[in-house]
Amino acid sequence: MNRLTPFEWIAAMRFMREGLVQTLLIVVGVGLGVAVIVFMSAALSGMQANIIRRTLNYMAPIVVIPPEQVARQLREGGGKTAALVQPRSQQLRSIDQWQKVRAQIERLPEVIAVTPVITGPGFALRGDANKAVNITGIEPETYLKVIALGDKIIAGKLTVASSDIIIGTELAKDLGADIGDKLRLTTASGASETLNVTGIFDFGNKRVNEGSVYISLHVAQNLLDLIGGVSSIEVKVRDPFEAETIAQAIQDETGQEADSWIKTNAQFFTAMAAQTLTNRLIRFFVGLTAALGIASVLVVSVVQKSKEIGILRAMGTSRGQVLRLFLLQGAVMGLIGSLLGSALSFVFLALFRSIARNPDGTLMFIIEIDPPLLVMTAVGATLVGILAAALPARLAARLDPAVAIRGG
């Protein structure tokens, strides 16, 4: 008995050591639960971070486009109004005074990079072959700050001078084109341009690889008959999860329409929210199971020791001391269980790393168990232990010493 250790601690520790098998079983049970919670949370956040990183590297968080054109009434108020208003066709239009808009957006503090883009439909022709393509005119020096196109170039290099074109692997195959070959782009307006293939990209997506070409902004403006204009401005922001608020700010500031990736990928976010909810549910039920385990072990202990508790009470032990004695046991079981569980979660992690690999041997995605998660789990498990012990502790504290000693 250590001199500094209070009575409740000494008794709690001895009681747990006395029922060592029960104590160990429940600690291992809590440990497994904690390991599952830690590992699952880490895996889920790793997976989500991975998806977000993959998505956001090749997609601008915010795209600014000109507001939609609507058919307006000729006269305001009064007069007769047509019952049916035919919606206007949306022609390819430039953002009005896009240089000014761009400067306005660049001034916003959360914005990291801004790039003007012009996109439109066209045809790529080479010899007898022709394919419908989506033309993207870019300003390379700023575009690469928003979209990590450079990572995806598998042949040639990423230069977009006025006579250059970058195409996807599928399109190169369909047209039989390789680096240094020429191909012709035409558009609905009748304009056409002959360009050199300088780079071939692979986004790992067939539709993008066969249907997208990148050319310089100026050439695209000519081809799409939008001289001096851009069809959209793409914006990269510091925190992608703030994109929607920033998009609103841009909209208010510039009067243009700003769409965040959060809005355009609503389905993805719903799926992620569902995952998070599932994770929470699993956490809750694993926690509940651990709590019930601790509670049942302690209830059994209270019943087994009711005479001993009675005699402790008869000797002058207060109800509070008895209460704390059992709460402490719950807390210690929770804490030790969570420490064991944290250690176990690293074992799970090592296992996962050896199993979950891409075909090429690289990690499928990175899972990190961060210290705050472990601390939170330890604190959480201790609290769960105390809560679980509350019922048995109350039972013990309420034992009538006379009845406990007499009974049975």
């Binding site: 250590n2 000494i10 005699i311 008869a314 000797m315 109800r319 001391q321 006379a402």
Partner: protein
Amino acid sequence: MVAEISAAETLRLEGVRKSYGVGTPVETEVLHGVDIRLETGEFAALIGPSGGGKSTLLNVIGLLDQPTRGKVWIQGIETDKLGDAERTRLRGLSIGFVFQYHYLLPAFTALENVMMPLLAARGRPDGAMRERAAALLDEVGLTPWKDQKTNDISGGQQQRVAVARSLAMKPALVLADEPTGNLDTNSADGVFDVLRAVNEASGTTFLIVTHDPRLAQRCDRIIELVDGRIVSDRANMNVVRRSGAAFSESAGARPPS
């Protein structure tokens, strides 16, 4: 009637009645008005047939239970006005318990079990507690077994540990409920010798419930409880005190503090 409590009075019961199932159709009165006074240093036996209310009476005296009517004074303190926490405190400080079964905590050694009441009262262990517990174990002749877990010693030894534990707080009154009921004759005599020796050495008051007439005859006073009433309460003339005269003198000479 205004009760006058002398300083040498450890216990006083006046008109103690105890009923179970109060307010229900099965209300039963177990104690029908019990009056007892125990002077400091008395060594008294409480005898009577089973079901006569001895254990109930002991619970009431030990503040484990409250009387339905009547009053209990412990060392001059009127207990019926005390709250639960104060009763627990007074019980811890003034009353020691020895039961038929020892109820030692098997997770602890003999020494630690004896320390337990001190530990519960003071919160943390200290050297003085350890010394006190060791001295008590020495008094009951268990020094060689003091560091054994209580499951590893004999029944008589366990009961002697329980006696030592009941004395840890230097209680004024020790209540023993058939302390030798589970023991063979030899062990029973051993435990009884210990109780008697403690009584003679320290002047601690003892009230011992026993079914064993042989042991009752070794007490100074025999109180008989039958059907919840005291039917006889007499000094036992048969008892020969080993240090009788000396003890009487010292008890009589105690200054009225």
